[in-house]
């Protein structure tokens, strides 16, 4: 028998006998003959652990990862440092081999973590209520959009074209089948065209989704947008980089109704795009409209503090036909890592991470200008990412950079009519030496 299956052949025989059967096949007599496979699956033979180890390592070795390469690539997935305790503790199997905490008495670990995570997200975003997370940033945007339309009983949503292209793509897919109209708001000098936004807003619009720092790294004027929305009794959804909230005024203080974002930067691996988690925080007013799980504090029979999933009546498995969302799970392991990360870096540490990323981004940006290698595209306040215009197609540059061990920035021309423009991300992990080397490499390429 396979090593993952404890029973021996003898156990099998005994168990069959116990239920009055002789052969395993007798357990499948209820499957009509015509549907029986009648052959072996076309898969490779069982692998021993040693073989398995070889195979997986060889596959992994076929990839170049951001330990091998110096990474200036961001665009929604960031190479921030992950303290070692994060993976050690999140790697405890009491966490990762537990199921959804539907039996709270024996799930207090998972539940307490969700509660602490919700508290931390509310701190960062300046909002009243956080859910236990959704699949990822794009999914958070989709859920927030649907929720906004449901709450407002309107079916139009404004989305700034400075919002991450992947988010807008996912929104398009969700809206197509939900009959929600997605209206793209044009951009102006790297940020949302606020005048256009105001003109496009009326009483038929449920709300607006903006991103800050936006896809180009520019910090947007959330207050302006939320004021515009309030005039039409519409909602403001802001997608944020959680790290930036250590130093940026939180959307909650600027009139946002829903704050969402991609949570990967908080202690999670870039992992080729997943699993990540999307966080979602709202004002008290919207607490009953929030999709997904929420953990609440209560008391047990002995009057002791205890945590439990609450507001579950909103959940799809109960609302069924009435559901506005069908999400079942949250990203338990991911928010565990995020919470451990936030608690480890702590109040001061998160600020350090944000500030050093900004300082280093500014260093590199200036250096590129000084050396006359590239020109900044926008002159706007930015966080840790910025767009630079080169003299060659970015694809070409990146290819060359790769040769010298650098993972170049994002080619904006692949999503916007912005030839030769690279979106460069700098995290606290980058050193002066790495950035100098990066610039040297670019000098050669040029």
């Amino acid at each position: 028998m396979h090593r993952y299956i404890p029973n021996s052949e003898k156990d099998r025989v005994d168990m069959l006998k116990a239920i009055g059967k002789e052969k395993i096949d007798e357990l499948f007599t209820d499957i009509p003959e015509q549907f029986r496979l009648g052959r072996d699956l076309d898969l490779e033979a069982t692998k021993t652990e040693l073989e398995l180890d070889r195979l997986m390592k060889s596959l992994a070795a076929k990839n170049k990862n951001i330990d091998d390469l110096t990474c200036f690539l961001g665009a929604g997935a960031y190479d921030h440092f992950i303290p070692t305790v994060v993976n050690h503790l999140a790697g405890r199997s009491e966490f990762y081999t537990a199921y959804t905490p539907y039996q709270p008495e024996i799930s207090q670990g998972t539940l307490q973590n969700i509660f602490e995570y919700q508290s931390l997200i509310c701190e960062l975003t300046g909002m009243d209520v956080s859910n236990a997370s959704v699949y990822d940033g794009a999914h958070a945007a989709a859920e927030a959009a649907v929720m906004t339309c449901a709450a407002k009983k309107r079916d139009k949503l404004l989305v700034s074209s400075t919002v991450h292209p992947e988010i807008r793509q996912v929104l398009k897919t969700y809206f197509r089948f939900r009959g929600i109209e997605l209206i793209e708001v044009p951009m102006k000098d790297g940020e949302t065209d606020y005048d256009a936004l105001a003109e496009m807003t009326d009483k038929t619009v449920a709300g607006a989704l903006i991103q800050s720092p936006n896809f180009f790294g520019v910090v947007e004027n959330i207050k302006k947008v939320s004021e515009t929305m309030k005039e039409s009794k519409a909602l403001t959804i802001v997608s944020v980089d959680p790290i930036s909230l250590a130093v940026l005024e939180p959307p909650g203080k600027l009139g946002a109704d829903i704050v969402i974002g991609e949570g990967q930067a908080l202690g999670n691996d870039v992992a080729l795009g997943g699993p990540y988690f999307g966080f979602m925080a709202v004002t008290d007013k919207l607490v009953r409209k929030v999709p997904g799980r929420i953990c609440g504090q209560s008391l047990d029979e002995d009057g002791k503090r205890a945590f439990v999933l609450t507001l579950q009546a909103r959940e799809q498995h109960i609302r069924r036909f009435k559901a506005t969302s069908n999400i079942c799970t949250n990203q338990g392991l991911m928010i565990l890592k995020a919470a451990i990360y936030m608690n480890t870096v702590g109040k001061e540490g998160l600020k350090d991470v944000a500030i050093q990323s900004m300082q280093k981004a500014r260093y590199l940006r200036n250096l590129l200008m000084e050396k006359g290698l590239a020109e900044p595209v926008f002159d706007k306040p930015y966080f840790k990412e910025f767009a630079m215009k080169f003299t060659k197609p970015v694809a070409e540059i990146n290819e060359a950079l790769l040769e010298s061990g650098f993972l170049g920035g994002f080619d904006l021309n692949s999503r916007y009519p912005m030839p030769n423009t690279m979106l460069i991300a700098v995290t606290e992990k980058r050193t002066k030496a790495e950035m100098d080397a990066f610039v040297k490499a670019l000098e050669v390429i040029k």
């Binding site: 579950q312 009546a313 009435k322």
Partner: protein
């Protein structure tokens, strides 16, 4: 299960208490029992207009969230905002804890509803 006479009942277990040209609307004691401990009552705004059968809001218990389908058409003239802080009132006395008061659009719609007797029989059969 208490069934208050003098009220009109819908198959979705809402009751209507006429009061002249207006009517109070609530959920039946049966519904309250089915839902269990009610933790939240979501009500519409005053002046909202509904047609018979529209969802005027929702009632949430720990187990379930059910929409409240308005049994008669009308305009909301008052909502029972006491339920905001004390949703348990619906559990305590479903016929006292009205949800909304509407201006009736058409008395005749009442004829389409059940009286106490019919409703009692209805929940028996449920």
């Amino acid at each position: 299960m208490k069934v208050q006479s003098g009220l009109y009942y819908s198959e979705d277990h809402e009751w209507v208490r006429v009061d002249g040209k207006t009517a109070y609307i609530g959920i039946s004691d049966f519904a309250q029992h089915e839902l269990g401990d009610i933790v939240y009552v979501e009500l519409p705004d005053e002046d909202d207009e509904f047609d018979k059968g529209d969802s005027l809001g929702a009632i949430e218990s720990v187990k379930a969230a059910s929409d409240i389908l308005i049994p008669v058409s009308g305009r909301v003239i008052e909502i029972n905002d006491e339920l905001d802080d004390a949703p348990e009132k619906v559990n305590n006395d479903a016929y006292d804890a009205w949800l909304i008061k509407v201006e009736l659009k058409d008395d005749a719609e009442l004829e389409g509803l059940m009286n106490a007797e019919a409703y009692e029989a209805f929940i028996e059969s449920e």
